[in-house]
Subunit: 218 residues, 2 copies
């Protein structure tokens, strides 16, 4: 049986379906989860609001942390850069330099301060292989660095690594993830734009999983 | 000859003499340095002001980034925790969970956004072996993670690793580091308290180096 301390986990929650599924996976594995949500100047606040709702739906406390990205360089932070409408080769313009690196660093600090030993992240490499800080080799190396650089030898859990979107959706459906609360669209409208690459991957995932996306009218 | 991009570096500057020496080392190695200074809620602002002065003295641009540590747990962030007056065994109460991890993460983002390839940090393991995120094994692991997780394969340079305080002071003196601008004391008074462990290590370093600390009356 795990000790109480080792059962505590920090879950990075973005408002999307990947991290929501990770929260439900961590909960199913018996972790006491605290959710960390970042307000990092993303172009819309909808994902922050939805992330807090997802935490509530799972019965877990959540905390919004405001962090500055005082330098631009990403379509998600800079309105002058266009959000791509279809998947491109290489690293997409929506890449925010070191975003996951900063998120994981904060999560490790929060974990150290609250007695948690594990940080859960929804990174996966199937759809977004263009983001260097989503790759398994990065997560493995970062996990080693955290173990060496924290008092509690914090570990990283990335249970979606190796899964594609449809597999994640099937996994989430099994665990009762409230997909209707999850928001994937890079734009913050009332309904998903269905044109940005995040909408594209979500739609393909639901289609391949044979499940109806509750956000999209059938 | 290095290309222009590979000659750009980000230097983490704290206002102390270690990072000031690192800035002068990086400059001497031919790097075009941009300094990153963190306003992270430390108990006094003196080190931020001094850090900006040190950057100016080296002729390098600097940028202050405000970051939140919304959780406490360190004597440097929480006035209810006492600053230790002598070196203690184990991890001291001045340890800020994941501080260097977060600083390095931000620096990697800044480097990615500005075309720099190297992040310089003044960490060393001789005096502060109690901070887990100053240890060489952490820095090495983190460097590997950054190379894997950034577009530009950002590297970490920690030229003080393996040096003790007196060696750093001798190195700095050789390069003309303005020690009178550096601030090491955990308290933010007009003159160093000479009682906190940071003052203790500084005093011992100057004594062993046979150099007079310009901040202390002889």
């Amino acid at each position: 049986m795990k000790s109480k301390a080792s059962r505590k986990a920090v879950v990075l929650l973005s408002g999307g379906l990947d991290s929501a599924t990770v929260l439900y996976i961590a909960r199913a594995r018996g972790y006491l989860c605290s959710c960390l949500i970042f307000d990092y100047g993303q172009s819309h606040r909808k994902e922050i609001i939805q992330a807090a709702r997802i935490a509530r739906s799972a019965g877990c406390p959540s905390r919004v942390v405001k962090i500055a990205f005082p330098w631009k360089g990403s379509a998600l932070l800079d309105r002058k850069i266009k959000i791509p409408e279809k998947p491109a080769a290489g690293i997409p313009s929506t890449y925010v330099p070191s975003r996951n690196i900063i998120f994981l660093s904060y999560a490790s600090s929060f974990a150290e301060a609250t007695g948690a030993r594990t940080v859960f992240i929804g990174a996966h490499d199937q759809d977004y292989s263009g983001y260097p800080d989503c790759r398994p080799e990065f997560l493995e190396a970062f996990g080693k660095a955290l173990r060496a650089g924290t008092r509690a030898k914090i570990g990283i859990a990335a249970p979606l690594i190796g899964m594609n979107k449809s597999r994640i959706i099937l996994e989430g459906a099994k665990l009762g993830v409230p997909f209707g609360l999850t928001w994937s669209c890079y734009r913050g409208g009332k309904v998903p734009c269905l044109r940005c690459d995040s909408c594209h991957y979500r739609a393909r995932g639901f289609k391949e999983a044979g499940i109806q996306d509750p956000l999209v009218k059938s």
